[in-house]
Symmetry: C3
Subunit: 140 residues, 3 copies
């Protein structure tokens, strides 16, 4: 039952792929079958499995969430109370709530059973660089 914590360095809002790191961890365990659980230890970034072919998909995803949840100094967001940590903080919590904190991915003999076009991403919602911890847990 291997388990590890990986650290991802972000440089502003957007999607950061780490499919390779997850795949390497799974393959090193040499299981025939199992389940990888990916868990992010933060509440202002999140996880996403999305298309890894056209980078425009990742840009459009980030753009959609920024339009749905603008910064708290935007006139439309005057109802937000939690503003002490900056105008990108409360929207970051909301975007995290709308996506995933935890994803389970089945593992087969060749590793993660992702579809052809699926990549695994950390979705950073804060503007400044952050060090983000992701737990990888490989179980039965």
């Amino acid at each position: 039952m291997p388990q590890t914590i990986i650290t991802l360095q972000t440089r502003g809002a957007g999607l950061y792929e780490f499919t390779g790191e997850a795949q390497a961890f799974v393959r090193s365990a040499g299981l025939e079958e199992g389940l990888l659980t990916v868990f992010v230890r933060h509440t202002s970034c999140s996880l996403l499995i999305q298309e890894n072919a056209d980078p425009d998909v990742q840009r459009d995803l980030d753009a959609f969430f920024k339009r749905l949840v603008p910064p708290s100094d935007d006139p439309s967001m005057g109802w937000i109370i939690h503003t002490a940590e900056g105008p990108d903080d409360m929207p970051a919590h909301i975007k995290a709530a709308l996506t995933q904190v935890s994803i389970g991915i089945p593992v087969g003999a060749r590793g993660l059973m992702l579809g052809t076009w699926q990549g695994l991403y950390l979705f950073e919602h804060r503007d400044r660089p952050h060090r983000r911890e992701v737990v990888l847990h490989l179980g039965g």
Copy 2:
């Protein structure tokens, strides 16, 4: 640790129930306790557990997501870059990001521990028919 891939044929956007297939897979394994992980291998459809009693709930859910994320040829969506695969493609990725790619359901002696009104659905976001692969992984 049984694992299988099932294929669901969709006929346009909407919810397609497969609670029965998942329940049959779990019961055939004869476990007293366990965890079923359901994982969809695509980025333009997703998974949902929702009310299985009134079909209007499923219609309203589909309608809400279509209003929240209109096709990319809608005037309000002019900011979308990824349009090459059709006006329903990028909205499909966004709706998938807003719902689930993976769901874990505890298993007891009588099978899936779903609530009385819970059904398991594939949520198709593309307009044309698609063959969709869903991995069922039963672990400890």
Copy 3:
């Protein structure tokens, strides 16, 4: 492979923390490593891991979802068909679809591997009090 069902009593829409109950269940099992799956057996409330430091975060989260999905008697929601169970029912299903029905949390020697600011919440979307069942499943 311990498994239990806990009951949470809600008193209207909002976030109800149960990190303590989940942590106590995990610690009583005395595992060195594992995975806790939390699963809610309803379709009009959901699960969320969010910031546990400032209660305003929880208020803002609830406020965001109420603005995104107003009651079905709001003029903007005239397209909703499923209104028989009250104006807060269909919006509750939609908010549940936008958040989580199931969350997997890795377990280490000290219990749940949550980040410093992460709390585990039931997110009630109905106005009236409800008794809500949550399954806790601890696996390998």
